[in-house]
């Protein structure tokens, strides 16, 4: 029986997954801080099916396979091997709102969620009723160092060293003594709400006074991040984390979705046609099998 029918099926399934991804991207074309997903394929060789050996004198019906080592190349299935977010920056929208902050550069804000530290580029912050700076989902935004209230402790407002950052990263990743450590890094703006300003370096000033420094982190390879709902990303590899070097904050702006409708529509058309071609191949194999079953026997 023709094994190629399964190759074509694998292709059709993979293209259907591309359409799923495009659908999600286009649905999020207006989601703040959303990063579009791309799909990567992998050729899956059934190489172990038959070892390339010297050809014996065939005793049964002869097939071309019996003479040449094919290394499974006749059965190269395709599988979706990975989806990764494309971290190209989205367009900046001017909102002029005090608590809207966009990151220019590759950094992420650090936020505390019930399930641990998450990273996001969505900077439409709000004030909780107790004066804490939170994301629009209500998760507290973290300062770069514990006791982020520089107002109480003006002498400790120094730039964060690499060592401190490394420790912070390990601490948050290991899940050890995180609760207290993280809670100490909440940013409290009290009733200074409407009048704060963010410096490009992330310092928050309220009435000329340094309140805290927002924690902005960068990653060696952001594609390793695991996506979760609400444009939040989870980092599971402490080594991946590094201090912000090339990121600057822009107050009064928001980063839009980086989905490019032209690219997505093109991907959609392409996946649609490739899917049709795979179906055509399946159909052709079906006809071949029909001939094998019905016509060959008549000879």
């Amino acid at each position: 029986m023709a094994s190629g029918i399964w190759n074509a099926t694998a292709g059709a399934v993979a293209q259907a997954q591309v359409v799923d991804t495009v659908a999600n991207n286009l649905a999020n074309a207006d989601t703040l801080g959303f990063k579009k997903d791309s799909v990567s394929f992998r050729e899956f060789l059934a190489a172990e099916e038959r070892e390339p050996t010297g050809a014996d004198i065939p005793r049964g019906p002869v097939k071309d396979k019996d003479f040449y080592p094919l290394d499974g190349k006749d059965q190269s299935f395709v599988v979706v091997d990975g989806t990764y977010s494309n971290f190209r920056p989205g367009p900046l929208k001017v909102t002029n709102a005090t608590l809207d902050v966009a990151i220019e550069g590759p950094g992420f804000f650090e936020v505390s969620t019930p399930s641990g530290i998450r990273y996001t580029r969505q900077g439409s912050f709000k004030l909780a009723t107790d004066g804490r700076l939170v994301t629009s989902d209500g998760f507290p935004v973290l300062a770069s160092q514990p006791g982020g209230l520089a107002a109480e402790n003006p002498n400790t407002a120094q730039p964060v060293t690499a060592l401190q950052l490394g420790q912070g990263g390990l601490e948050t990743q290991g899940g050890v003594s995180t609760e207290a450590g993280v809670a100490a890094r909440f940013i409290n703006l009290r009733d200074a709400g409407g009048k704060v300003s963010f410096s490009p370096a992330g310092e928050i000033y309220a009435g000329g006074e340094l309140v805290a420094k927002v924690s902005v982190r960068e990653f060696l390879d952001p594609r390793k991040l695991r996506q979760s709902a609400g444009a939040l990303f989870e980092n599971k590899d402490p080594v991946n984390l590094k201090a912000a070097e090339r990121s600057e904050l822009r107050q009064g702006m928001l980063e839009g979705s980086n989905v490019n409708p032209v690219e997505e529509m093109t991907a959609l058309i392409r996946a649609n046609r490739l899917f049709e071609q795979d179906l055509k191949a399946i159909k052709t194999y079906g006809e071949l099998m029909q001939r094998e079953a019905n016509d060959i026997g008549k000879l």
Binding site: L26, V80, T129
Partner: protein
């Protein structure tokens, strides 16, 4: 493909929420002290088929995983309390707040609410009320024989009486909230406090960052028509693209059904 269909459906729902909000904004382009809305989208949860960073061997990990998104939802909708433009009316009972703050008012049912609509009128008892009957708090009674009313930037209300006399008849108060965006809009320019907005913080106009009062002016709507129009155009196109995804997913399912 069923996933593509439902993801596209969530996209349609989210985009139509923007259209509805925009149309409400444009309809209120001439409503005094109207505050335009903002809708924030959130991506839905992801189905993780393969974990990123899964261990492949002693020292190697998969660099990327396979995750599939489920679409989008409306994550939040709130008002933007940006200052609207001033409209000079020269009516002595028209008050505009320049800066932060809202007037506290008592609704006809006794509930305390907040508004920036400053078009006050006099009721039969001489009290300052809004068009919908809500009374300004603290209550200010204008004497029946008052010839005119003078309201200072700091909210001091003086009545000019016959024979060149003058009397201070009240002091306006303004309130702010820690999180203004958490207020719930009740229509007619009325906002109500919620657990998200926090408790009202009362003060005298011009103090502690509160705005000042301008008499004889009204605050216009802060809707920016050009922005709303651009938003309508881009939202309509985004809507269309989601319907396109639907029709492609449908075609693909149809084609699959017709293989045999």
């Amino acid at each position: 493909m069923i996933r593509a269909l439902s993801a596209a459906a969530t996209g349609l729902e989210a985009q139509s929420a923007i259209i509805e909000r925009s149309s409400n904004d444009v309809a209120n382009v001439n409503t005094d002290a109207y505050k335009r809305g903002r809708i924030e989208f959130k991506d839905l949860m992801y189905e993780t088929i393969k974990e990123p960073g899964a261990q492949l061997g002693a020292s190697s990990q998969t660099p990327v995983g396979v995750q599939r998104g489920m679409g989008v939802k409306v994550g939040g909708a709130h008002k933007i309390f940006e200052q609207g433009p001033a409209k000079m009316t020269n009516n002595q009972l028209d008050l505009m707040i320049e800066g932060q703050g809202l007037f506290p008012v008592q609704m006809p049912n006794g509930e305390v609410a907040y508004t920036r609509t400053g078009a006050f009128h006099r009721d039969s008892a001489g009290k300052m009320v809004l068009t919908n009957g809500a009374r300004l708090l603290p209550e200010i009674t204008i004497p029946a024989n008052a010839l005119g009313l003078g309201i200072s930037a700091a909210g001091e209300v003086k009545a000019a009486l016959p024979a060149g006399q003058e009397a201070v008849i009240g002091q306006l108060q303004l309130v702010t909230f820690i999180n203004e965006e958490g207020l719930s809009a009740a229509g007619e320019g009325i906002f109500k406090a919620t657990p998200a907005s926090g408790a009202p913080l009362q003060g005298v106009p011009g103090e502690n960052g509160l705005g000042i009062i301008t008499q004889g002016a009204l605050e216009g709507s802060n809707v920016n028509v050009a922005n709303s129009m651009v938003e309508l155009i881009s939202t309509q196109r985004a809507y269309e693209m989601n319907t396109k995804v639907m029709s492609v997913a449908d075609q693909m399912m149809g084609a699959t059904t017709n293989i045999k």
